[in-house]
Symmetry: C2
Subunit: 188 residues, 2 copies
Amino acid sequence: MVEAYLDRLTHFSPVSEKSRDLLKKHIYTGKVAKGDFILKYQEACNAIYFIESGFARQYYFKNGKDITEWFAGEQEFCFSISSYFKNTPSNLMIEALEDSTVIYLDKKGFTSLTKTHLDLAQLAITMFSRSLIFSQERTESILFQSAKDCYLNLLKKQPHILQQVSLAHIASFLGITQETLSRIRAKI
Amino acid sequence: MVEAYLDRLTHFSPVSEKSRDLLKKHIYTGKVAKGDFILKYQEACNAIYFIESGFARQYYFKNGKDITEWFAGEQEFCFSISSYFKNTPSNLMIEALEDSTVIYLDKKGFTSLTKTHLDLAQLAITMFSRSLIFSQERTESILFQSAKDCYLNLLKKQPHILQQVSLAHIASFLGITQETLSRIRAKI
DNA sequence: CTGGTTATTTGACAAATGTCAAAGGTTTTC
DNA sequence: GAAAACCTTTGACATTTGTCAAATAACCAG
């Protein structure tokens, strides 16, 4: 499982056998039951998480409302950007919506390896630039589309989400209310 | 000027004298007159731009509408994330709203140096992770705030923008119409 | 300074979305 | 299999924001 994960990681950017072995020491796996947290509120995000199997939701509270920031499906990464980079307690929570197997890439270990190994530094650059592109696309998608178009966009890009997640969560991901989303659906 | 820029860059992450000299070879400066483009439509974004003096607006067209993605003030960075990382022609344009002096950090040169020098790779990691945090904060700010709160947020974080930019551009940055913004202002 | 241009505000109304409440559906649990 | 808990839909109405058009205000060039 860890080998497959390493394959996936190093697909972003080539990594020597030696670096791969070093990296392996900072990777560990865990099971998270449905409803439990991969990252708890106010906890430091000290790893990059990879959902080997299962499904997770990233969310936070704003003015008492539960806001979904992102969904992470199987074979996808997630982490709290601000907590990870700023070393602050996380406002973001990551909850397993199904029983999940999670692979952790330890931040401290990974960071220190990037300081001594060029190939791993390249890997970090590639990973973060990919995140940057995702983040960018999300902003553009939400900023200038109607709720309906956002929904259709989601439907196209990540249709599996709609099978697994409650309406309320999808609505908060899209930045609209549950009722509005229900009405949008009714029209399609 | 370039030295001050290097100081600023290397403040993100320490860089050796030797690396600094190497980096310098990939930095060049230019003047851009008001109304001219730092990055043209469909051009490849082959540098990270730094506004030494002046002011710039990043925007693109969506369904015929002019959408402002970001403003870059003095001593700030800007570039087209997707064009830079994906090597695609840029949909984003960067226009100087005032006569500006721009410092270019050449992508090709910088990228290749990050492949051979650990300290410069670290610099890249730090720069891109900072961009990631900015992008993230922007999404959160826009996604779950009313138009008014977005405006107040901008007022607090980048008040200088409001002095330099037309209402229409600020409105498109906030994702609202000019009329709505005008009414929000009237109430304050 | 003055006419022309551009930017901003205002008004009237339409459309989209939110809020609150209630009614149906589903799923879970015992 | 029935009650409880939870999720989704629907209705009525309020609020926010958009659209179009016109009126002001600010800016610029000659």
